[in-house]
Amino acid sequence: MNKPLREKPQSRKKKPQNSVAGDSLPDMMKELEDLRQRFFLEQRETFDRFVASGPGACCHDDPCTEVRNRWQNFVRDELLHGFLVTPVGPLRQYHEKFNRLMEAFAEWEAACQVFITLMTHSMTLSLADLQEKIRDRLSAGRPVDDLFPQWVRLFEDRSLALFRSAEFMAAMHKALKTKTALVKAQEELMEDVLKVAHIPTLSEMDDISRDVYLLKKRIETLEKAMKDRHGRTR
């Protein structure tokens, strides 16, 4: 049960030596200024991609992946890193269970993000398809009507193709797997809380239900055997 000390996540990149700011105040100010500029530049690039017109405007999967990765790194490296220390002392087992819950939550959240991103991706692709269709029709000078039914058809095609892909199925199964791990971790913790409060836990209730179920089955079998026996002796 003893959990080893959590290794430092691999993704935490060490800063290159040459990028370390100097100790002097002007160096630190320069570093801060660079950071501010990079931050605004990134924001502006993302914004430009969002407002761009044409079919490419919808295909902004890169920023989504980037945002998702950054968030996950933040959760794993910054948020959980503070919590997930090796538990010691008399409350160690409760601490361990809490750690398992935190980890399960982080894994479920990451899996959900991948799953939701995939889901929304088929929608963005269908919107890009629609843009393409509109552009073709406008170029040909043909009327563009019934946009909504057209988009529904395109979205249906895209999503049904996605749902058959190995990528989607892997994402869905991972989301389910991490969800069940989360439920189990919650349950473990809740069992302790209920025990402290002298309230029957789910596993205890399940044990009783199983006993009742098996007893009913035995009674049925016995009743049937008795009926058959009476039938034979008559």
Partner: protein, 381 residues
């Protein structure tokens, strides 16, 4: 260039006009849904004649007298509720069966709770179903029933008919999966690698809401987006709104499914496809489809996205019945029971078919099964 500008202006004008209309309809929704709507489901009168644990047996009496002597038992799936067969007075399979002169019994599986998690398929088929049928035998002073199984309920009926062929006079299955090894339906694909043990260990019974989410996910474009857009478009049509609310009431009224039953259904059927290979066992007894020797009428929907024709049609080939036929309707999984077109075909065809067999017209007319070469029509689209 002028044509392009014209088309562009017209498109924008249409879009704005439609948006204004949609907004106006959206504003009206609270007022219309706040009214008293006639949206009752399951309104056909019945009496409860048998109860056991969570199970209830409903009995409907034909208003114009019974024309089919053998009582008819309807077995619905454990997923969603049997009220779908009696959704509204003019679209009710139950009413259709009653008008055809059938004496209808229907199992209401109730709402499983945590304590029901250990119930297996055997408990439902050889337990509840068998005891319900024994009860009907005693009540009606008969030794056979006609069975109609819907979806998963149909799969249960197939198992029952194979294990107790003497108790079933005629078997009708509707959109009932038998052949699970197909890649036509998304559900069949998704179930293949599902970690069902993990799900059940975590949740116990499978929550109805989880299943609903899965069903919506099968086609979000139609089931989530287009459906509600249609609702907004038709908000002024009270009859449409009432039908819509009825359907919503049914769709999102989903009991949980007992854990062990679901585990066995997924593992034995979806993942190992044991049923059609005559290798499925219920409490140690092998389910051999060749023992289904009574007449079989097998319905399925050409556009069924949940249980595709390929999953249903092989029943007649695999059963031992000499009087078995497939009926493919041009509709989907739910449309069979609720579309006005299928209403005219589904229940009347069942009662006519039962009556023909009751009168013995075709009971000894030789092999009525279509030649083995005949395959189910492929699903369109």
């Amino acid at each position: 260039m002028d044509g392009r500008a014209d088309s562009c202006h017209r498109m924008i004008a249409d879009f704005l006009r439609q948006s204004a209309k949609d907004l106006d309809h959206l504003r009206r929704i609270p007022g219309i849904l706040g009214r008293e709507l006639s949206a009752e489901i399951g309104a056909t009168p019945y009496e409860i004649v048998y109860t056991e644990d969570r199970i209830r047996l409903k009995h409907y009496i034909p208003p114009q007298g019974r024309k089919i002597a053998t009582p008819l038992l309807v077995v619905y799936a454990l997923i969603n509720r049997e009220t779908m067969l009696d959704l509204q007075p003019d679209r009710s399979v139950i009413q259709g069966l009653l008008q055809g002169g059938a004496d209808v019994y229907m199992i209401d599986w109730g709402r499983p709770t945590r304590k029901d998690r250990f119930l297996t398929i055997d408990d439902h088929v050889n337990g509840y179903m068998d005891r319900v049928i024994e009860f009907i035998h005693r009540r009606e002073k008969t030794n056979q029933v006609n069975l109609i199984g819907i979806c998963m309920g149909g799969t249960f009926c197939v198992m029952y008919a194979a294990l107790h062929p003497g108790k079933v006079r005629n078997l009708v299955t509707s959109v009932s999966p038998i052949q699970f090894d197909t890649d036509k339906g998304l559900l069949h694909l998704w179930m293949k690698d599902l970690d069902i043990d993990g799900l059940i260990d975590a949740w116990g019974n499978i929550p109805g809401d989880f299943l609903n989410f899965g069903f919506l996910l099968l086609n979000p474009a139609r089931l989530v987006i287009e459906k509600y857009k249609n609702f907004i478009d038709n908000i002024e049509n009270i009859s449409f709104v009432e039908n819509f609310v009825r359907m919503e009431k049914w769709i999102f009224d989903s009991p949980d499914v007992p854990a062990e039953t679901f585990r066995q259904y997924v593992k034995d059927c979806y993942q190992q496809n044991l049923l059609i290979r005559n290798r499925m066992h219920l409490n140690g007894r092998r389910v051999d489809l060749r023992r289904i020797t009574m007449p079989v009428l097998n319905f399925y929907g050409r556009y069924d996205h949940l249980v595709p024709p390929e999953a249903c049609a092989p029943l007649i080939e695999k059963s031992g019945s000499r009087d078995a036929q497939n009926v493919c309707l041009d509709t989907g999984h739910i449309g069979i029971y609720v579309s006005s077109k299928a209403q005219k075909e589904f229940a009347p065809r069942i009662t006519r078919w039962l009556m023909e067999r009751e009168q013995g017209e075709k009971s000894t007319a030789g092999r009525m099964r279509p030649p083995r070469k005949r395959k189910a029509p492929p699903p369109a689209g």
